[in-house]
Subunit: 357 residues, 4 copies
């Protein structure tokens, strides 16, 4: 209940700090009999890992995953699956200047106040590095959902700062460093130039990320407090730096009339998808559509006013290696989170409603 | 785990259907020794109850609450507090025409598919009527937080359809039927006319609601999966009809730079509140600021295409008594939800960090 | 997490005090589509209710149950089922003399120290009266298990004080006031005389209760911490006055050799049942066999030394209406607890292992 | 919810199999600021580890623990503490003959039926080896409870087969290979001879283990379903091979009268301890006294009838390295379990009752 476990029936309990010896997680509740090895997990970790372009942190971490348990002769056994990722590139000295001060917009201040002690090396446990085990666990959920229902996940950046990225196709997200769903080379060049300028300025920027799950079975979600959309909102808002979450039409629904918003049903399915695939907290079988706002990184070289532990005023500039836009690497994380929520609810659904046909 | 319990240490388990004999909840984990009676709870229920203006449903429910347990000589004993509200005004015949069809945008379709059976009378369990017990429980959380920390809750409507409602003061929300935080009589008149037109059209409309908690202690929230903002997003997205949630700057942060977004700290506190009172998932001590999008009611008189249980195409018009804008009565619900989340995390915090000074 | 909810997927949250307005529970997780009404529940409550013979408390409570939710047209809908039982016969004045003192062997002392406040009327929440909602919930679990797997429950008293009751058949437990599984009329007469003497002495006595579940599917139970036998031990030890629990051979296994204890498997099944139907925390498909020790009632007329709230020495005699042997009415409670544990694990099993054949 | 997590607020999630690459656990909820290193944990692991005398399994495992997270500059930070123990001495070939058959009295049969797949190497996850991470976690709980309340834990064997071991003092448990609380050298010699004979016979034997916690604060335990004694029963029955649990007087209470059983209170405390330190599910402040029955090891050389996976009759003899009496190494495990339950409830108590004085 200290908040390091995600999920109810398919649970992920993570551990580790950015600059400790290792990070990892224990995944509990995976059904037995599924083929699984590190080769199913590593590709997802590779999508998230640092150092893949000049627009993300230059920390060098291979993020090589080791499965410690839960597999026998290449198959899951129904027992916990532990994933271990050793930390390799810790330059803790980079963080010397923030040991006693609080970065504006960062968890430094709140961890210190909550616990009375704080591991300042790389942000300790508050580091976005802790999303790696989640991505690893998400790879398992994705595989299971794909095998059971043919569920597929897609995601990408749809806005960087003030630059909107019109959606073209998910096919293109792997072809640029931003997970942008566009083949517009000029737009990509514009995004690259934007990031280069930002880096020169020692500043950071926000982003909008969209994720979609297709081929989701109807009936997932538990009313009235573990609604599927409520759990998705929880999962997404729990990703570092997320400040807003929308399902389907999202905030646009404020100005919609009921005659416009409600998705009509026809013999061949729903005519529109304002609901984003969830009605009354339960999946409709349509695509689950989620959008989220990611704030700019708080660790920037631009000096800002802050205080130290004693409450004295100081100016803070953060050196070390940081992502100037944490939104860039957020796509695989958001996909993983969505997969984890869906798998958890798939198991919950069959517990109570196994007999419903 | 079937989703009818909210919270971890301060839990609310609700029961009931819109047109069943009663609705209510069991509240567990309330600390002992707090003075409590129905008079602490009824006023909050009265803020939410139907029939208070021509702009909401005309169903007549006094929503009179009875405390069944957990109180001895006027004080909480640390044992479960059960609240009971009898349903009084059930005109189930109003719903005869939707027994076999699915209202576009409504949970009818998903409940049917999930459970294979559905109580269609007034929406059954999916009815917003089920927020009444939550509001009752929230009154207890509000009282406790007020006594412990002086925490106060405010909320109101900041947009109705396309009409924005500029914030003036929370003092005015009780003086108009919309919980609008404005004393602008012309604007209120405009909102009333807007609603009257809508009702004549047999249509419905969305709204934006903001809620704020002040005097929140620093340190509440559990990283890294039960972050305070993640739990708030879960709670708010779990309210009927909510499609989007923002904390602090929300989606505006997409276009913000780090140099702008990160709230500077000074000797006299934070200089701004883009964070909305949460950093790294933990409360900063600033106001918690939440905004949410509420979709238009799906039960409207305007005919829409749908299908029946056999999959045949039908046209659906919904009669009976419905709120043309569920956002109008959402304010006390959202305040209650926020109070429940904060109280839960206050108890969680003192479990683990009781010794931190 | 304040301990008023039993179960993980099939949960029972109880509320109420012995002399408050009502007791009851919310049952969550019941699969949809099962026929259910009060007539399925009342007979089990009648087995437990007070006043059925001169050997139990003479408090007059009809224990009439009302279902408040979760049923539509006679069938469960998958939503919470709330049960309400109004208290009728509260003679709270009987308890006046124990308001400020602690009965030896009673929860008076610990509730006072834990909460700093205590409802002394009839023991408040610590009263065995609070097992009534559990028996009601157990009736639902029994019905579901019977329909799904043909599971049957039996139980009875196998020892009263020093008098052992040799097992003859479960068929006889309904034919005497002790739930004794014997047709030996002389033995029953001996038990009656024993109880009459005890009552004259103003004293109480312990008992041993056995319960058995037959036709339990193989595979229920979650290693390695929610083992089926661990959960049964938790459930049984949680019944008021239980001080010991055994599964299968129980304490007799201390003096057994492995060559004797391990139940051999043959083509036609297990040859013996030392395991009590559980191996490695998972059901074997054999009868689940549980035995428990129930301490003598602490509320007795015999004077004993105690202290008052101020710590001053006092002599305590308890008047009012009490069971001289709480073990007598324990059988339906223990059966209910066993049914609740099995149903919970049946749902848990199908969540994770639905595909195992 | 798949049963690999122990506790509610202070949780231990274990992973690993007997012959996999590693075993370990994630401990969540430890309060921040406590000095902690491997040297606090290793001594407890050494008490449990195999190969310490000729009466236990000869498998050679150093059980060296590595802390992977949750510590900064020698102190706990409030974040998860992961413990890793690499498996070193896996002779999986020893188990070749039980891959397709089920040992009588062993979890082989039930794991196979539950999951449809089973790691047979050394019992896989059902191995008592998985108690090592629990002992590691228990060391942390012991340290915290000692620092907070001066709580101390003792335990030992009080019966081996039919040989009773009269209690002399806990001081002697470290001076013999059985954790026997006696200085009677002749009795120890008798136990050694008994075990030597047993080993020659290729058989195994049961044992009784007692554990005691002293200096336990009053008020721990949550009525009415997470009673302290219910949780202890759950924890102890969850230890491999336990078939019975008693608190205080245990089964002896069946033949006790209320006038004898109820512990009188005097100005200087309780006069007796039939309750075993728990009344109404809440600690009284007296010693918590627990006793448990441990069945004989099911892996024995003596041939027994069984079946193979296809249901054909076979004779099973188990070779490999096994404890002829698993009760011998059970003492540190039972102490650890008791410590984990108490720490969990200490945190739960301060969540709800922090203000009670």
């Amino acid at each position: 209940m200290s908040g390091n476990t995600l999920g109810t029936l398919f649970t992920v309990t993570t551990f580790g700090e950015s600059h400790g010896p290792a990070i990892g997680c224990v995944i509990d509740g995976c059904p037995p009999g599924m083929t699984l090895s590190e080769t199913d997990i590593q590709p997802e970790l590779d999508r998230r890992k640092p150092g893949t372009s000049r627009h993300v942190t230059q920390r060098q971490e291979a993020d090589t995953v080791e499965i410690l348990s839960g597999i026998y002769e290449g198959k899951t056994t129904g027992t916990p699956i532990a994933l271990l990722i050793r930390n390799e590139d810790q330059r803790s000295k980079d963080y010397g200047n923030i040991v006693d001060t609080f970065r504006p917009g960062h968890a430094d201040f709140t961890y210190w106040n909550k616990y009375g002690i704080r591991d300042p090396r790389g942000g300790g446990r508050s580091s976005a590095r802790l999303t790696a085990p989640v991505v690893g666990a998400g790879a398992i959920a994705k595989k299971w959902l794909q095998e059971q229902y043919g569920t597929r996940f897609h995601g990408g950046m749809t806005q960087l700062g003030e630059i909107e990225i019109p959606f073209s196709s998910w096919d293109f997200t792997a072809q640029n460093p931003f997970f942008a769903p566009t083949e517009d080379a000029q737009l990509i060049a514009k995004l690259e130039a934007y990031m280069d300028d930002l880096r020169k300025d020692g500043d950071s920027i926000g982003a909008r990320i969209d994720v979609v799950a297709s081929n989701v079975p109807v009936g997932l979600g538990e009313p009235i407090y573990d609604k599927l959309d409520a759990e998705i909102a929880y999962a997404m808002m729990g990703i570092n730096a997320v400040k807003g979450v929308e399902i389907g039409a999202g905030f646009a629904c404020v100005a919609q009339r009921g005659s416009e918003h409600g998705d009509e049903l026809t013999e061949s399915g729903f005519a529109t998808n304002n609901a984003g695939g969830v009605l009354g907290g339960i999946s409709t079988g349509q695509d689950i559509r989620v959008s989220m706002a990611i704030k700019p990184t708080s660790s920037i070289r631009t000096p800002k006013r802050s205080i130290d532990k004693q409450g004295n005023p100081v100016m803070v500039e953060t050196f070390g290696r940081h992502d100037p836009c944490v939104g860039i690497r957020a796509t695989p994380i958001a996909e993983a989170m969505l997969a984890l929520v869906l798998m958890d609810h798939a198991l919950r659904h069959r517990a109570q409603c196994a007999d419903v046909t």
